[in-house]
């Protein structure tokens, strides 16, 4: 790899670098803009529009959000709980199933694989799902209503199976011969060998949980159980909705000034997206390795 890089000519190198610098800019710029807007004075926003450097600096938006710190803090708490508990449980279940169906000596292997595969294609639909969650499991207003539906994704199970299937069976056999039980093999040998897969899937799952809002929208009414994303979606959705229905509500006299203004909305976006940006680098070391998880590359 390194020798190849050294052999590359200066021009190709420069071109590649420019391309990736531009690509990174395209990705980073919107986020910087959001941060800039969240730090701009509202009046300056309406007169001058958006700009990358705050035309008139103001931290009012953040002060406004932190004025009622309990709302934000509780939402952070809920999201953190969902993400941590959800990811750990989900990773555990995914790897357990993935491992089981990757074992060549498991006789119901293909049946279980098909069983896992079916829900990837078909789902029960929204209303039955809702009935199950609220009337049989009684999960309304419970954080488990957000955690449980995301626990097991067939797609991730199949990726996990692909990765674990490539661990030589001889390792398992030799461990057995040394007297290790199934649990010891799984936790002491298989899991450590699968770190790249665990980290990659863990990151995906954590993102999913962090960004989850639809289940929350359906099942969470109580304010103290609202996760961060739902807080954001509520504000944005409602604004859009009212805008699109302005012909009806004109007569009702809805006071639009009740809604958080532009900079507050952007500040909320920063607060919602921020933490994930700090989590990402910790996973990156495994991430590159994990990119090839499930592919044919040996």
């Amino acid at each position: 790899m390194e020798t190849y890089a050294m052999r590359r000519s200066g021009i190709v190198n420069a071109l590649l670098n420019t391309f990736f610098i531009l690509l990174s800019l395209v990705i980073i710029a919107p986020f910087i803009l959001i941060v800039a807007v969240s730090l701009t004075d509202e009046r300056a926003l309406t007169t001058y529009g958006y700009s990358f450097i705050p035309t008139q600096f103001s931290s009012l938006a953040y002060e406004y959000l932190l004025q009622t710190p309990m709302v934000i803090l509780r939402a952070y708490g809920n999201t953190a709980f969902i993400t941590v508990v959800g990811t750990l449980l989900s990773i555990l279940l995914t790897s357990i199933i993935g491992y089981t169906i990757s074992r060549r000596d498991y006789s119901f292997r293909s049946w279980v694989t098909i069983y896992v595969f079916i829900p990837m294609m078909f789902s029960g639909g929204l209303v039955p799902f809702y009935i199950l969650m609220t009337q049989y499991l009684h999960l309304k207003n419970s954080l488990w209503a957000i955690i449980l539906p995301g626990l097991l994704s067939p797609f991730y199970v199949l990726i996990m199976k692909g990765f674990m299937g490539k661990i030589p069976f001889e390792i398992i056999e030799s461990a057995k011969m040394d007297g290790a039980g199934e649990w010891r093999i799984f936790f002491r040998i298989i899991l450590p060998l699968s770190t790249p897969a665990l980290a990659t899937l863990g990151l995906f799952i954590a993102f999913n949980y962090w960004n989850e809002w639809f289940n929350a929208l359906l099942f969470i009414d109580e304010d103290r159980r609202v996760p961060l994303q739902l807080l954001l979606v509520r504000i944005m959705n409602t604004l859009d909705f009212l805008r699109n229905n302005s012909e009806y509500i004109q007569g009702l006299g809805l006071d639009m000034s009740q809604f958080p203004n532009e900079s507050v909305r952007m500040a909320l976006v920063v607060m919602v997206a921020g933490p994930m940006m700090f989590v990402f680098p910790f996973f990156q070391k495994y991430f590159v390795q994990g990119m090839t998880v499930g592919s044919l590359k040996g």
Binding site: T100, Y130, Q135, W144, T238, N244, S246, F259
Partner: protein
């Protein structure tokens, strides 16, 4: 094999553990999904006469808000203090933000979730659709028995608007139910050019004003229009909403787009657009928000109501405006069903739910509490009837989702006689001849949807004058016809004839 069994056992153990966790987590949240104690239903009508003997029930009430407030629980406690005493019931308030309201309630209602009162409208959690789906129960008898005052306070044509196959399915939250088409122009600019607003009788009469603004105030848009907000107003041209010419005893509907009046309207708009009176982006702008604040001289208004100038002033950079109505105040079905409260089919105690509606609609203390919060904490009283709402208050709600707004406080800036004036206007409004008729699109569903899609495509362009009607209007009409507009009109006519035979006494 033995080991596999052990794994399986652990698995099952995990599942049981999870289930236990979840139910444990749910319990403190409330036993809301449980129906009230059985046996209530049978005794209800007997004991309903005397409030004191009513068994205790719990009512769940879903309604829309712009934002769920931090102090919601405090308000619920206060509400229950009143409701407990008067109805021996507890109310669980379930405010949902407008953006999620339709999705959430459609799902909950389809799943047969138990709740009692539910807010509905023709623009969110659609009233007509849900009546047809059977989401609500008919209220005629219940209202007569348990809500006589509410029944009386609302004019009978408003009740007619809520009827489906002759039965009432929701209680209107009585407020402004008239619409009046007109324009608003900035007073300072009118004065500057010596434009006498009282001489304006039709839309065309605005032209001199627009011309002066265009000539002398380069930074200001003479006429600010938005795509979805600009409509051909049938009433201004002597039609009612179903395309029946007002005064036509035979109730012949027409496709409005084919009338000469429609043509003259879009031609006028196009000529104004060409002359630069209308903002270039009119067809795509969805709402006049802060960006356009104070940067336009006039706008078209579809719902001018008493106190409207004060509202407009706030949204147009604080400039005084003059409202110029082009029509009489009229009332149409749609403006009567913009906000309603219905009783869910899943309600275990519909009688008590209706009693709660009656209480909210007639007890100003309860109504004001729901609408504005707690005095001193969430609002200040300016005088007996007017309040100032703290913009950062930790409780905000919309007064029109709860009940009759005329029982509540006025908000700072509204004239003291706003309610009286609105009520008078409501009662004197011109009731359109086909009022109360509502078109049922079941028979022509596909055609109707196609026609609506074509309308959504062409209307914003034609209404705002953005495209030339000489080429686009014929194209629009052809597309409408291809989409099945004639078939829809025939079906409309058929239903309307049946309705006329039943409801119009000659």
């Amino acid at each position: 094999m033995k080991k596999m069994q052990r794994v399986l056992l652990v698995w099952l153990g995990c599942l049981v553990f999870l289930a236990a966790c979840s139910s444990g987590n749910n319990n403190p949240g409330g036993t809301n999904t449980n129906p009230a104690a059985p046996g209530n239903n049978g005794e209800e009508p007997v004991s309903a006469e005397t409030d004191g003997e009513l068994p205790h029930v719990e009512l769940i009430w879903y309604y829309g808000v712009s934002q769920v407030s931090p102090d919601q629980q405090k308000i619920e406690d206060e509400v229950n203090r009143i409701v407990e005493e008067k109805l021996n019931a507890t109310v669980k308030l379930r405010p949902i933000d407008f953006g999620s309201y339709t999705t959430k309630l459609n799902t909950a209602s389809a799943a047969g979730e138990k709740f009692d009162l539910v807010w509905t409208a023709n623009w969110a959690f659609n009233y007509d659709e849900n009546v047809k789906k059977g989401a609500f129960i008919p209220l005629d008898e219940l209202l007569e028995q348990h809500a006589p005052q509410t029944l009386q306070a609302i004019p009978s044509f408003t009740w007619d608007a809520t009827k489906y196959q002759g039965e009432i399915y929701a209680v209107p939250n009585y407020q402004t139910i008239t619409s009046r088409y007109g324009a608003s122009i900035r007073k300072d600019l009118a004065d500057k050019y010596g434009f006498d607003a009282s001489t304006v009788e039709t839309l065309e009469d605005l032209e001199p004003f627009l011309a002066s603004v265009k000539e002398n105030d380069p930074g200001i848009t003479p006429l600010m229009l938005t795509g979805p907000g600009t409509k051909f107003e049938p009433f201004m041209y002597g039609f009612d909403d179903n395309g029946v010419r007002i005064g036509d005893d035979t109730f012949q509907t027409q496709i409005l787009e084919e009338t000469p009046e429609y043509k003259s309207f879009v031609e006028l708009m196009h000529s104004w657009f060409e002359k630069g009176y209308i903002n270039d982006d009119a067809s795509t702008v969805k709402q006049i928000d802060a960006i356009y604040n104070g940067k336009y001289a006039s706008g078209l208004e579809s719902a001018m109501k008493p106190g409207y100038e004060a509202e407009k002033k706030a949204s147009n950079g604080g400039y005084d405006v003059i409202g110029i109505p082009f029509t009489e105040a009229t009332t149409r079905r749609t403006s009567n069903i913009t906000t309603l409260t219905a009783v869910s089919r899943t309600s275990a105690n519909p009688e008590r739910a209706v009693m709660l509606i009656e209480l909210v609609n007639n007890d100003p203390e309860l109504y004001n509490l729901l609408s504005f919060g707690i005095e001193g904490t969430h609002y200040e009283k300016l005088d007996d009837n007017t309040v100032r709402i703290d913009p950062n208050a930790s409780y905000r709600a919309q007064n029109w989702v709860f009940g009759n707004v005329f029982n509540g406080y006025l908000v700072e800036g509204q004239a003291a006689d706003t309610w009286e004036a609105t009520k008078a206007l409501n009662e004197s409004a011109f009731v359109q001849p086909t009022f109360g008729f509502s078109f049922d699109d079941t028979a022509v569903k596909a055609e109707y949807a196609n026609v609506m899609a074509v309308k959504a495509e062409y209307e914003p362009l034609l209404m705002t004058g953005t495209v030339d009607p000489a080429t686009y209007l014929p194209e629009y009409l052809t597309k409408l016809r291809n989409a099945g507009a004639d078939k829809v009109r025939e079906e409309l006519q058929r239903q309307l004839d049946a309705w006329v035979a039943e409801n119009v006494k000659s």
